[in-house]
Symmetry: C2
Subunit: 335 residues, 2 copies
């Protein structure tokens, strides 16, 4: 426990804490490593970095990388740097996403674009990504670099797919799968794959597959929450995706089952620049009644099941148990 | 000359053409390689890439990389990929700079942010940078990656330095040197250094030094042009830097020599949100009369001289002659 007093605390719900238990000390090393990597001799960078590290999220990707490296109980110490770089890549993409979406809040705190400026968020995202890469290059492992630079391209392609969706309602399930693969599953998969490359190499492909399926389940669950989770203030589902004209699986599943009249109501919502609360509530009811949410849940469970199957060949270690727990966590989280 | 018919033409002024002569065929291969690297199976990316390749600049950084690799007349073919990656990194940083500055034009064509959107420019910059890195990783040379990821961090720190300059008029020559080192000299230096690593390894340090001093001279010359070059429409210097409250070397050199009254005029310009044309013209006259431009010219010539000295130990090859020519080109270019 040496140095524990100076370690940053990683916040977590109890379900997440159980998954993180086998790697909790190392996770705190990851936070310290992130802090080291983003240090720069410029007050503005220090301010923004400080803010970002303070809004630290659930550290889900580093947790997966650490657990993957532990599946044969012989993790390599370098996995700490790897996990820090993966989280910084994630953070860089969030900073740019918030800038692109003009989002004001992230994890309950002001985004970089709202607290500082649009300018600072663009350059800060570049800085985080660039520093993450420097840390990876210092690990001197071209295989790790190959996996992670390829993923960062996929993340940008995912974002571009979203921006390119001019006729959103023609988006079908194959488009949706390609989108969530690129924007979410690719990095979760890479976290597991590169984690495996730091101590559990024989299980690299299995863990890559696990992470990829987990990522698909993760994003489907997220997209369902947008239809079902009631906001604390209004007591109604936020329907934020509908408001922003984002077409996700519940709507894709519901569309072919709608009557011509109901379909017109959805078309009207997507034609409105700023749809009203009543329009959103009505669309949520239509999608729910047409079985869109139930269909999406079934698809999410398929992905979850495939993630579980991918763990079949792994040795029975605490890390494997935690990875199985991560599937349940993903399917049942509320935020 | 096989394949020359399908090669893209690289536009150039005659002075630039002379510098590019020893590597002109290879430069066309670089353009083809850039095209290959940025291809993606998504129409929006193809559109933006097409636009960016069409506005292709002077290819100055690839030219330097190719010349550096040729200084011992044994360039490695892989320098083509290296040079393409360096230019794509440069392009990525321009796309983000234009987005940050809300610039409407670049190289006489609409910027990505003005032709598409702010969103597209942020993500497209990420895409270009990420693809450049993938191409570098595929070269399987950790030394190259070390140099270039470190430079990309410096580019972001340079941009941050510019954004962080809240009290611009307290900016001194040391701050200015640190800024232009980070935002300009670092990449020119890396282009020469990594070019040398592809065929002229014994001259790596000399070419790194050459590129760094050339980059400093390049930026000083650029900053002087802003005070001296008359715009084609108005017939007056643009004074764009002053308009945007950017403090560059001519002003830094002039400030301590101004009378209290003249200094107040400069302070007023920097206090005005949108300084008028008269204010700009007056400031340019004050800076010129105080010898600010002459001082900056002397400093630029020092940098140019240091770049020349760095070439001393190189063998007498056409590439070396062209690198010496590049110094003169940098000092005398008009755009």
């Amino acid at each position: 426990m040496t140095g524990a007093a100076t370690r940053a605390r990683v916040p977590a719900t109890s379900a997440l804490r159980a998954i993180q238990a086998p790697v909790s000390e190392r996770l705190e090393d990851v936070v310290a490593e992130m802090r080291r990597v983003v240090t720069a001799d410029l007050p503005l960078i220090e301010q923004v970095s400080g803010h970002l590290l303070q809004m630290q999220g659930k550290m889900f990707r580093p947790t997966l990388a650490l657990l993957a490296s532990e599946t044969t109980e012989s993790p390599q110490p370098r996995v700490v740097t790897l996990a820090a770089a993966v989280e910084l890549m994630h953070l860089a993409s969030l900073v740019h996403d918030d800038s692109v979406d003009h989002s004001a809040l992230r994890r309950g705190l002001p985004t970089v674009n709202s607290l500082f400026s649009h300018q600072v968020s663009v350059i800060m995202g570049d800085f985080l990504y660039s520093r993450a890469l420097e840390a990876l290059v210092a690990m001197e492992d071209l295989d790790l670099l190959r996996v992670l630079t390829s993923v960062s391209t996929q993340l940008t392609i995912g974002e571009m797919r979203q921006l390119a969706a001019v006729d959103a309602l023609s988006f079908d399930e194959a488009d949706y799968d390609a989108l969530i693969q690129a924007k979410t599953a690719s990095l979760l998969s890479a976290a597991c794959e590169t984690g495996a490359m730091c101590g559990a190499a024989p299980h690299r492909l299995a863990l890559k597959r696990y992470g990829e399926r987990l990522g698909m389940a993760f994003q489907v669950a997220d997209d369902i929450l947008d239809y079902t989770e009631t906001a604390s203030v209004t007591g109604k589902p936020s329907g934020l995706d509908l408001r922003e004209h984002k077409v996700t699986l519940p709507l894709i599943a519901a569309l072919p089952r709608l009557s011509a009249k109901d379909r017109q109501r959805i078309d009207a919502l997507f034609a409105a620049d700023a749809p009203g609360d009543d329009q959103i509530a009505e669309a949520i009811a239509l999608v729910t009644d047409a079985g869109g949410i139930a269909s999406a849940q079934i698809r999410g469970e398929q992905f979850a099941h495939e993630a579980e199957e991918a763990l079949d060949g792994l040795p029975d270690t605490p890390a494997r148990t935690a990875l199985a727990g991560a599937i349940i966590y993903v399917m049942h989280r509320r935020s």
